[in-house]
């Protein structure tokens, strides 16, 4: 695994820049004191296997880019101080492939043998559920950057575990709200989702939200092809026979792309309005092969949905220049998790008074924080200040023939408090209860 090793301290510069930033920005993100040395951080994701292309590699690319810039103090304000709390980030890239037992073993080995002091990672919800208690046991500061299951902080309470992306509940509720806003007269809807936790949970959240928002629309029997099925001939025929007005799907990666290729060749997109909750990851790869008029999600306001800002412009351009493709949502989620790490250690460095911060101090630094990331504002509002909520957005695919690029139209943004449950509420119960307390104005 490639690692970036840098040990030169830039604490003085960080202090000066931090003070400058503090004059105009929130004091929470300006380090008052900085430590010296390096911070060994495990960056975990699927770097091999089917999830590498759509998720793992874009996330790793973003990690390399942002860590390099962070260490050099080149991330735009308010993050221009070098390193994290003055510490140079020494990244150790760890592959998430191989199942939860291997993931846990790798985590323990990284902490106990390699001396990894903090983690940013994990794409699979299964990995996150397995890692969270281990991180707690080993008292190691860990930021989950992508996995979607709301169970992490709804079923347990943690001190050292954080997640800087919103849960998958937001995806389902946001998708249903988009359908309710744009297609309020639909008669029925159906789903095609992979037959494992992610697909089942995604459909459950969407269906429950649809029942709350459009109670007169009928939910048809959903299809659950197995993970990595690749062949969707029978499913496409079944959908053509039933002709749901709206088709929900959380397929991802090769499965999603195969389904789009096969279904568009058979004109399914002309018979039903598709909503692909992870579709943004694939829009540039499919290009003109992605039909117009498909509702695309990005698991938050990332990629094409990211808000304009100096931070976003820098990230987008730097990523495009280096990797010759625009950053998609896993890149944004990794980048915003690394900002969370920086905020935690910048604040912890002050608390440590120049010593190297402990995991507990880092955890205190990020708990309940609210910060501007590359795509949106991240509020650590749930799970005792350890689970983020963000706004989300959906829009319609449109291929621009003149420029030869995939674009999005008809974007609707939903505030964080509109698509995420309030603190203390369980996601499913909140949706079933009609999403009481949602603030959508």
């Amino acid at each position: 695994m490639k690692s970036t090793i840098a040990t030169k301290s830039r604490g003085g510069r960080a202090r000066l820049l931090g003070l400058a930033a503090a004059a105009t920005l929130a004091a929470t993100i300006a380090p008052g004191a900085t430590a010296q040395g390096s911070l060994k951080v495990g960056i975990v994701g699927f770097y091999t296997g089917a999830a590498a292309g759509p998720f793992g590699i874009p996330a790793r690319n973003a990690a390399e880019l942002v860590i390099e810039a962070m260490n050099a103090g080149k991330v735009p304000a308010p993050y221009q101080s070098a390193g994290a709390g003055g510490l140079q980030i020494d990244a150790v890239y760890i592959d998430e492939s191989g199942g939860t037992a291997k993931v846990v073993t790798d985590y323990r080995n990284a902490v106990q043998r390699q001396g990894v002091e903090a983690f940013v990672g994990y794409i699979s919800s299964g990995s996150c559920l397995a890692i969270a208690p281990v991180a707690e046991e080993l008292a190691t500061f860990t930021i989950l950057f992508d996995c979607g299951t709301p169970r992490i902080f709804e079923d347990a309470s943690y001190t050292y575990v954080f997640r800087t992306a919103a849960t998958a509940t937001m995806d389902g509720v946001g998708a249903a709200r988009y359908v309710a806003a744009k297609f309020p007269d639909i008669k029925n809807y159906q789903g095609i989702n992979q037959n494992y936790a992610w697909g089942q949970d995604s459909w459950r959240d969407f269906e429950l939200a649809m029942k709350a928002l459009l109670p007169n629309a009928k939910s048809e029997d959903s299809l659950f092809p197995k993970l990595f099925a690749g062949q969707y001939g029978a499913e496409i025929s079944s959908l053509s026979v039933k002709r749901p007005n709206v088709l929900h799907s959380s397929l991802w990666g090769g499965d999603l792309e195969s389904f789009v290729l096969q279904s568009s060749a058979r004109a399914l997109n002309r018979q039903t309005t598709m909503i692909l909750t992870t579709g943004e990851t694939t829009m540039f790869r499919l290009g003109s092969k992605l039909p117009d008029g498909i509702i695309l999600g990005a698991r938050g306001p990332y990629g094409v949905y990211a808000r304009d800002s100096e931070l976003n412009t820098w990230f987008r351009n730097a990523y495009q220049d280096r990797f010759a493709t625009p950053p998609t949502y896993p890149s944004y989620q990794m980048a915003q998790a690394l900002l969370g790490l920086k905020i935690a250690y910048d604040k912890a460095a002050t608390a440590a008074g120049g010593s190297k911060p402990t995991s507990a101090q880092a955890a205190d630094g990020l708990a309940g924080a609210e910060y501007e990331a590359f795509g949106t504002t991240v509020k650590m509002a749930l799970g005792n200040g350890r689970q983020a909520i963000t706004e989300t957005a959906y829009g319609l695919s449109k291929f621009d023939k003149e420029t030869g690029t995939a674009t999005i139209t008809d974007i609707i943004r939903f505030p964080a408090e509109c698509v995420n449950p309030p603190d203390g509420a369980k996601s499913v119960e909140w949706i079933q209860g009609g999403m009481q307390g949602a603030k959508c104005d």
Binding site: Y47, T48, G49, A50, A52, G53, G56, I57, N195, D221, S222, L223, F224, P225, K226, F228, A229, G230, Q231, G233, A234, E235, S237, S238, S240, V241, R243, G253, G254, L256, E257, S258, L261, Q262, A265, R266, A267, L268, Q271, R285, L286, K289
Partner: protein, 298 residues
């Protein structure tokens, strides 16, 4: 009526695809008694080489139908290169050893090949969609069927017929049948069993690669595509009877139609139905539907 028609068509299309993929696997087992897990690698390499070749071909603006010849070419190249390398370079040292050991060796090769794919082609997907749309569609009421999908039925039928003809109507085929029945006796009669092994393995590898090559235009070619395929192919071969060509035909049709029926009528059991069929067959015929009882040599 429409649903019944859709089940039949979908079932046959899926069965044809399964048969194309499983044929090479059952052929290799029938002749060589090798449970070749690396068959999934042949499939994946066939898909990758075809996707690359098709991409280059269509970017060059060459005649569209030539893309189909490229798929066959990709299968040929992958089969000859990988099949020969694996059989001559590794498997020939395993002949006469425990079949389980040989299966484990092919499993190790399969795992290494998965990493080789990432080393060569990276983790990003490849698309070779052009041939998929080239043949157009057939409309049957609300059903829009891809002619490319339907053409798989023809390809599977052709492969089945050619395999039958070669085995039963050519000298090489009869020699092969002799090896299948009793390799020691065949060797005693002067048949070059080693050569037959190499030939069979290369043909099996070509069939696996052909499965990948014809699938490439329908899917996003990504790392890991060989994993799922090998599991399904094994299910077909086990249902039909290890080493039986007709068994593979019937196994593929049973699984294809069962799965299509499940998707249309009871989608909750779609994942379960393939393995339920396999379990049912094995419960009553542990040797598979078409496998002959073997005399035990003492």
């Amino acid at each position: 009526m429409l649903t019944a028609f859709a089940i039949l068509v979908d079932g046959l299309v899926f069965a044809s695809w399964l048969f194309i993929v499983a044929l090479g696997l059952t052929l290799i087992f029938g002749v060589m008694k090798i449970l070749n897990v690396a068959h999934g690698s042949f499939y994946a390499f066939g898909a990758y080489v075809a996707a690359n070749a098709i991409g280059v071909y269509y970017e060059a603006g060459l005649p569209p139908l030539g893309g189909f010849a490229l798929m066959a070419g990709a299968a040929l190249v992958v089969g000859v290169v990988l099949g020969t390398a694996l059989e001559r370079g590794l498997l020939r040292f395993m002949y006469g050893r425990d079949e389980v050991l040989t299966a484990l060796v092919t499993f190790a090769v399969f795992l290494m090949m998965e990493d080789v794919i990432i080393l060569v082609w990276g983790a990003d997907p490849f698309f070779a969609y052009q041939p998929y749309g080239l043949l157009g569609v057939t409309e049957a009421g609300p059903l829009v069927l891809s002619n490319y999908d339907l053409s798989l039925i023809g390809l599977a039928f052709t492969l089945c017929a050619v395999t039958w003809w070669v085995l039963n109507r050519t000298r090489q085929g009869r020699l092969l049948i002799a090896v299948i029945h009793d390799r020691e006796l065949a060797a005693a009669f002067g048949i070059n069993v080693t050569r037959m092994f190499t030939l069979t393995f290369v043909i099996g590898a070509m069939l696996g690669a052909l499965g990948g090559a014809v699938t490439a235009p329908m899917i996003s070619v990504t790392p890991g595509i060989g994993v799922e395929v090998i599991v399904l192919a094994f299910a077909i071969v086990v249902i039909g009877g290890m080493g039986s060509i007709w068994g593979a035909v019937i196994g593929a049709v049973v699984v294809g139609v069962s799965r299509a029926a499940a998707v249309h009528l009871l989608p909750q059991v779609e994942l379960f139905v393939i393995y339920a069929v396999m379990a049912l067959v094995l419960a009553f015929r542990p040797e598979g539907l078409f496998s002959r009882a073997q005399a035990r040599k003492i």
